[in-house]
Amino acid sequence: MQRYVVGRLLLMIPTLLGVAILTFLLMRVVPGDVVALRYSQAGAVSQEIIDRERALLGLDKPIEQQFADWMGQVVRLDFGQSLWTDRPVTEEIGARLGITLELAILAAIIATCIALPLGILAAVRQDTWVDYVIRIVSIGGLALPSFWLGILMILGLVVVFRWAPPLVFVPLWEDPVANLGQLIWPALAVGYRYSAVATRMTRSSVLEVMREDYVRTARAKGLREVWVVVRHAVRNSLLPVITVISLEFAFLFGGLVVTEQVFNVNGLGKLLVDAVAHRDYPLIQALVLIFSFVFVFMNFVVDMLYGVLDPRIRYA
């Protein structure tokens, strides 16, 4: 077991290294640079000034040297300075990490609360109108563009209640009402999609378990249907549901881009879009690395969960 865990952790390294190299190369291949952008709004900036500024930021160095410099820093956990704001990348990310994390957790809670009961209900009442309605509602979650849903939500709030979510972020521990007042809406908007994914998984997973022999046996023993579902089916079908919720969480972390934009939430997704638009290399590289890390780590957690929850799986 211990060896397996260490092995799995070590496997993260090539993946993250690959991500780092790929990001670095991709961004260098893409045309455009931060200096030209910085001066794009005022017309009268001469080429000379732009060249000087590029040299100042080290953008005129050969690409392999830039990469070596950057890797050298990262190994020492120094992600460098943002080219756009000239502040430490860690500071830029630190200011947003909490918001995105909270938003993702809220969405996960919402999704779980919706998905478990609906998914189980749909499975138990398979091929009845209950099942159909639940399936249609959850497919709707996959079909609606989330930015579209978000814009309609804000518009609805403003038109109907003459109220819009607060503009300024307040940490949860300072003012829970104001905090939730701001974050609950984007959480709902993405939570709908998230719950759709989880509902569908719950349904199919419960259905599958209900076909297993031991459930049939339980039924045959004359146990009441509710009891069968709760005791056997649900318990044993939880694993894939947990998996999908965890993996979606990792996707969500890097996938809040559009929602954050629509709700004007100051999170990592918005930061990433801006960073890419600004060609802010160190910031992009750090952000992509973080997203990848979360993703890889959640995968690891899921694997470990399997080991703990499913007695059939043994890690040699």
Binding site: V19, G32, A198, G254
Partner: protein
């Protein structure tokens, strides 16, 4: 299918599958389709939506009352009328016609990206499963890298590096499909590769490509098909999302994403039809693909989990 033991008849579903497995090919298809329609009303509804969409795209020139870029430029959108069923946009272009022509773009983007993406995924998955060892390890690591890469970065990189246009939007949407399909196909492939008949084929010296193509691909075709349908809908949605970020198909080409984006969003209150029409079209299309895809999965392989 031959690899799986025929289940004991228990439910109606099992019965249907049993009938399916026992029938001949032609009967299988006819019976399958009939069975599908009878037993899966939701899936049939989804299929109907898709058929309508394909019809609209193929016969766009006949169905659409106006050309996609035809119109008198007055500055303001016109509300729906008998002349313009869904009104016009600020360039005087007929929204209904653009919607019809937009279905060409949507289908093109959807089918091409999910077909290419899924097929590349299929190849990588099968190759990984067949060879195992180092080859598999390398493919897996590369897939992991692709998988953990945020979509926006890929999309911007592709669109910015290659320039704009439908083709590059397709490329941007294709990339994230590959690792997801490869993963599922590899898992199914691993189960197949240990089957005795594959071992036997190897032993008598059948070449690797032939084994993979003749014996493994048919066996992982169900998950491949299911993933492909699932990504069809997602591709349409992704195109709209990319459009929202300004990275989608470009005006004046008609596409649902760019109809929803610029003028649609700006005239949200004054001319809601501009945003509602493409919004509904996108949702309906994705809805249709998903309904159909779900039912297809239930019919082909209820054990496969693709959320």
């Amino acid at each position: 299918m031959s690899g799986r033991p025929v289940p004991t008849a228990h439910s109606a579903e099992d019965l249907a599958r049993r009938r399916y497995l026992e029938a001949t090919t032609w009967k299988r298809i006819r019976g399958g389709v009939g069975d599908f329609i009878r037993r899966r009303p939701l899936g049939t509804a989804g299929a109907a939506i898709i058929v309508v969409m394909i019809g609209a795209a193929v016969f766009a020139d006949l169905v659409a009352p106006y050309g996609p870029q035809e119109g008198t430029f007055t500055g303001l959108p016109e509300p729906p009328s008998l002349d313009h069923l869904l009104g016009t946009d600020p360039f005087g272009r007929d929204v209904f016609s653009r919607l019809i022509y937009g279905s060409q773009t949507a289908l093109l983007v959807g089918f091409t990206s999910s077909l290419i993406g899924s097929t590349l995924g299929l190849v990588l998955g099968v190759v990984g499963a067949y060879f195992g060892g180092k080859v598999d390890e390398i493919i897996q690591r590369v897939m992991d890298v692709l998988l953990s890469f945020p979509l926006v970065v890929i999309a911007i990189a592709v669109v910015a590096a290659l320039g704009p246009g439908t083709g590059n939007v397709i490329a941007a949407i294709t990339l994230p499909v590959i690792p997801r399909v490869a993963r599922v196909v590899r898992a199914s492939g691993l189960a197949v590769v240990r089957m005795p008949y594959i071992e036997a084929a190897r032993a008598v010296g059948v070449r690797a490509p032939r084994i993979m193509f003749r014996h493994m691909v048919p066996n992982v075709f169900a998950p491949y098909l299911i993933m492909l349908t699932a990504f069809l809908g997602q591709a349409v949605l992704l195109e709209a999302t990319l459009s929202f970020l300004g990275l989608g198909v470009v005006e004046p080409e008609p596409a649902w994403g760019n109809m929803l984006r610029g003028q649609g969003m700006q005239f949200l209150e004054q001319a809601p039809w501009l945003a509602i029409a493409p919004g509904v079209a996108i949702s309906l299309a994705v809805f249709g693909f998903n309904l159909f895809g779900d039912s297809l999965r239930d019919a082909l392989d209820p054990r496969l989990r693709t959320a």
